[in-house]
């Protein structure tokens, strides 16, 4: 079953074409990253899915059904900014959400605990710091333990510890089998958790699908030793070497086939080269993304 299917969604604000015929599908159980620079249409797209914006053309389904409030109640959504009644406490704001989603109020204590807000739950929302507001918004999405989450820049306004916590939380949610649709321009935020991505640029979908098929991110090996020039000469003789680059005092070797690092090490040692650095790495999503959006 597909959680979300978009078909030719277009949206225009005056002269700005915010989305241009965007179509893709979010499979159940995936962690789906919607990537793109600021202003690429990520929030507009999620706004249409959550019915706060109306698409000019195109349509979409949620859980293979025509979208309505019933489907939205089964999704925990954080869109753009935390939207709460300033004069009410965090707890009372979540009471309203529980009523809208028709979920048990007993769950409020659990989500406030996860968000680290239990101590301040009875203080008015307007007294919260930016990070606490964002935490309340995250608690709001988790209310009722929905199987699908839509998170738009979930770590906005959080301090480094908070960002790490959110990343951990998303990982944990993904492992528990939930479907997570996440928009972010912070790539390392999604890098570690995404199974699927859609890449948007200026409202156009560049690509979408499983992250390893749509983004070429081959492994490479980082090497260093006391005699870098000799190491370089030797590596160039390796039959599977594709590309070689010297960056930050280490050589990055890209191979055209699978290379066992221990065999590589042993081969180099046999040639009299004793490595002081050897690491298998994967090209970062950011690098792959930049390559894609710049072409």
């Amino acid at each position: 079953m597909s959680i979300l299917t978009l078909r030719n969604i277009s949206k225009r604000y005056g002269s700005l074409q915010a989305l241009r015929e965007v179509s893709f599908e979010v499979p159940r159980g995936s962690v789906f990253g919607i990537l793109g620079p600021n202003g690429s249409g990520k929030t507009t797209l999620l706004g249409i899915v959550t019915d706060v914006l109306k698409a000019d053309t195109g349509d979409f389904t949620l859980f293979d059904q025509l979208p309505s409030a019933t489907q939205r109640r089964q999704i925990g959504t954080l869109l753009e900014t935390p939207n709460f009644y300033h004069y009410l406490s965090g707890y009372r704001n979540l009471q309203i959400t529980a009523a809208v989603k028709q979920r048990d109020e007993k769950d409020i204590a659990r989500v406030l605990e996860i968000a680290g807000l239990s101590a301040r739950q009875h203080a008015a929302f307007k007294t919260y710091s930016l990070g606490m507001k964002q935490r309340l918004a995250i608690a709001n999405t988790l209310l009722g333990d929905p199987d699908v989450l839509i998170l738009d820049e979930p770590s906005n306004g959080l301090d480094p510890a908070g960002i790490a916590e959110v990343r951990g939380l998303i990982k944990q949610l993904a492992q528990s089998g939930k479907t997570i649709i996440m928009a972010s321009h912070l790539l390392d935020e999604v890098e570690k958790v995404c199974t699927h991505v859609a890449v948007l640029q200026k409202g156009k979908l560049l690509t979408s699908g499983p992250v390893n098929t749509v983004m070429v991110r081959e492994d490479f090996v980082e090497l260093a030793c006391n005699d870098m020039s000799r190491l370089e000469v030797l590596l160039r003789q390796h039959p599977l070497l594709g590309n070689l680059a010297l960056t930050g005092g280490v050589l990055q070797a890209f191979f055209t086939g699978a290379v066992d690092p221990s065999e590589l090490n042993s081969w180099l040692a046999g040639q009299g080269i004793w490595l002081n650095h050897l690491q298998v790495r994967r090209k970062s999503l950011e690098a792959a993304f930049l390559e894609m959006t710049q072409n």
Partner: protein, 259 residues
Amino acid sequence: MLNIIRIEWLKVKNYRTFWILLILAVIVIPASNTIVADVVSRIPKQATDILGRNFYDFPVAWQTVANVNSFTSIIFGLLLVTLVTNEFTYKTHRQLVIDGWERLDLVLSKIFWVVALALLALVVSFITAIVFGMIYSTAPFSFEGVQFLFFYFLQVLVSLSIALMLGMFIKRSGLATVIYLGYAMIFEQLLTVGLKHSVGAIGGLLPLQAGDELLPFPVVDKVLPSSSDYSHGVYEITIILYIALFIGLTCRRMLKADY
């Protein structure tokens, strides 16, 4: 609908501004009648003899209370503008839809307030008329003329429908408040006067004015023949049509717009 009402209750239960405005709107009803009763009691006896009636005598007490209250019902409108524009100020109109309200539920939740506040105004006016009648009336209690409270109820409903529409269209609390006050207190009066002069009786068919036509100050309206040019039914239907129009426009807007 019950769930929507429960959610509205959660929003206002701990909202001080709401309670202050609500108490103010309610207290003003007996308070303004106290002032009128006091002023009326100082009219020399000869004058009231000419008029033939005390203003809080039954059956005119109903009409007096309805007329006096029609000047202060604007406070209910201010309360409604606040409740409506709050959703836009806090962007909770977005969140409610995101979390699982239909867009129409947003409109229904505020129509609930239109009806609830109008009913509250009606009930408080009803009690006020009875109490003031009991205190001041020299005639026995009577329900004759109680229909004036229904006219008042209609006027509060249309006034609140205007507040609803302005709040939903303008979204910004300060601007919506000023435009609502400006329209209710000045602009419509000007239009009425202008239309009555230039066109005629049709000037009495503006939304709030139609209510005023139904609610002339008692006793005096018998001495100075009524300015009403249409029958009561025409004004009543006009008001109901306005209510339908304003709520219809609000629904259309909220169903189509980007939030």
